[in-house]
């Protein structure tokens, strides 16, 4: 048991040493999360349309200005609405979206467990 604990601690230390993502990775992450509004279902990262290219330039600019990931998302949400983000933020509109699957999972678990309650 102790060995297992030690194992995990070493694990965490080594994996957290890589936590700081660099700017390029961040740019990729952000543009993958932004929707290309003139395409049919592509992210800004994947798309080569004029709009997407402008967005990429702007994301670069904002990152260089020192804005954080969330600040950049807020900026675009202000211009275009929630629709532009692929990762739905957790707000009053999306509680059900995020929580319903988890709820279903728990209900499923309860049903499975209940069926074995009678058996010792």
């Amino acid at each position: 048991m102790k060995i297992l604990k030690l194992f995990f601690i070493i694990f965490f230390i080594i994996s957290s040493s890589n936590l700081e993502a660099n700017m390029d990775d961040m740019k990729i992450k952000i543009t993958k999360n932004l929707r290309c509004l003139i395409c049919q279902g592509q992210s800004v990262y994947d798309s080569d349309s004029e709009f997407a290219n402008s967005m990429k330039v702007l994301v670069d600019k904002k990152l260089n200005e020192g804005l954080s990931e969330n600040q950049i998302y807020d900026y675009f949400k202000e211009k275009y609405g929630e629709w532009i983000l692929y990762d739905p933020t957790l707000n009053k509109n999306t509680y059900i979206l995020w929580l319903l699957p988890i709820l279903i999972f728990l209900i499923g678990g309860a049903i499975v467990a209940k069926n074995f309650k009678l058996k010792g």
Binding site: S15, D48, E82, Y86, D87, I96, N115, F116
Partner: protein, 626 residues
Amino acid sequence: MLLSVIGHYSLVLGLCVGLVIIFFSIKNFQISEYLDVKIVSFTFLQLILVFLSFLCLILSFVFSDFSNETVFNNSHTTKPLFYKISGTWGNHEGSLLLWLLVLTLFIFLFLIKTKNQPIKYKILTLSFQQIIIIGFFVFLIQTSNPFNYIYPTPEEGLGLNPILQDPALAIHPPILYLGYVGSSIIFSSALAATCLNIISKKWASHIKKWVLISWVFLTLGIMLGSIWAYYELGWGGFWFWDPVENVSLMPWLALTTLLHCILVLEKKQVLTSWVIILSISTFTLSMCGTFLVRSGILNSVHTFANDPGRGLFILVFLFSLVLISLFVFFFFHKSNHNELNNFSWVSKETSIIINNWFMMYFLSVVLIGTVYPIFLDVLSSEKISVGPPFYHKLIVPFLIPFLLAMAIGPKLKWVKSNLNDKFSMILLLIISVLISFFILKIFEANFLINTILISSATYLFFITSRDFFIKKFNNISQNIAHFGFSLLILSILFNSLFSSEIITNLKVGETFEDSNTKIFFKSIKQKEEKNFKSIIANFNIKNSKGITENLSPELRIYNQPNIVTSEADIKTSMISDKFIVINIVQNQDYFNVRYQVKPFMLWIWLSVLLISFGGLLSLFKKKYEQ
């Protein structure tokens, strides 16, 4: 002209035959000593009529009969023959005719191939199927007639989108439909069996081959769609959680779960409620998918023409089917409450139930993600997007216990099990964890969760590989399928972790260089093809080992319709794919170049083939044993 007339009236006749079949079925149901030959003949006649109609449509496309509105909208005289033919089902009306063809084909095959089942059951299955068939006939003739006449006859057609002129995409619909529509038989027969209360081991054995057929085709169909997206759409991705993709995945999830439950039902009289509900759900999800894609409700890369009128018809039709099935289920199904108490925690039944639990969770994630934006829009006029991050966050963590269960589950015995080879199982687990840890460390990828995920997938991989040697031919189809699945997860993981991309702007003669790669834009040349003008760029790409490869992406400027497409050049090898694509930059004399190195792409396709092969093997094994 003549083809359209024959095609149209075959459909009308087919509809009438459907009503005749129902009439005779009702009569036969009462005196059910033998199956009335008339019924089988009429079912065959219906099939012939639909086939004839379909043939007429194909010929209309081949001969470019532009007096037919569908042909006019979707074809062009300069289109190559192969794509003229595949254009038949590349549009809304034609694809529905294909639906009808598969519906009628499968019920006919079902009738003649089913032996050893009660006559009443066969008649009832036929009746339920006819309800679906007649519904589709009416839908087709009323709202989506492939044989509408336009006058005066245009000289030329409007052409098919060049992105759809691709071999993978040409066979993707028929294969996918064999899967989707094949599940209609499962739907009808499950309802019939519920009414007659014959859901049992014998019935499970009988229906299993239909489930397998539908499942294999659905798996292959989805794979073909992904392959097409990868090769054609030019961004190097193969799955985007696009609503239309999700809509094909949902029936697959339900069908896979159903398959597992049928495997249990074959041995013991348990999970009957699950089997019925999943049978209903699979087809319902297929129909629901049809609705979502064709009604204009969803925004996606491949929505068909937006037409709310058609959407309304499908919606009403779909919900009638759902209500009928719910009624049948609630009224006729008597579930056995003692079913589930006969086995212990550690048994095969439990692992299948856990499988059901997780699969239903995955299904709900995909369903909610796809459908929630619609609900939100209607209820509060807010528009949101639900994209890959949502699905990844909710699915990936749960894959870990799922993979582990997949590894351990098949090893358990029915009813009760004492894990005999506990020691080697745990040893393999530790080895998996260590291997994945070192892989990630060497390649400097981060995230704790990736390690655990890779460990579980590797574990499944080892267990199933080991089973090939220990168990040899026992359960080989299951082994192959599960092995394939572990390979799939591993390929996808390694592909997403170790893919790299370079995006840059280059003029002819320029070079891009970084620490690993040197890209030299060698030359460019122009060519005139039959229905497009082509610009082919030539690149020399040198990797860190000093090996140079030659890649030639292409830009195509089509005349009908006026579109520019980008054709990627992909060099595939066992280890990785090299993927390059160029795009015109508005107003500039340089091109935007995207070069990607994508490891293990080939393995992704191979593993899906393996999974299908496992299913196929199970199908033929049964035949061999009989």
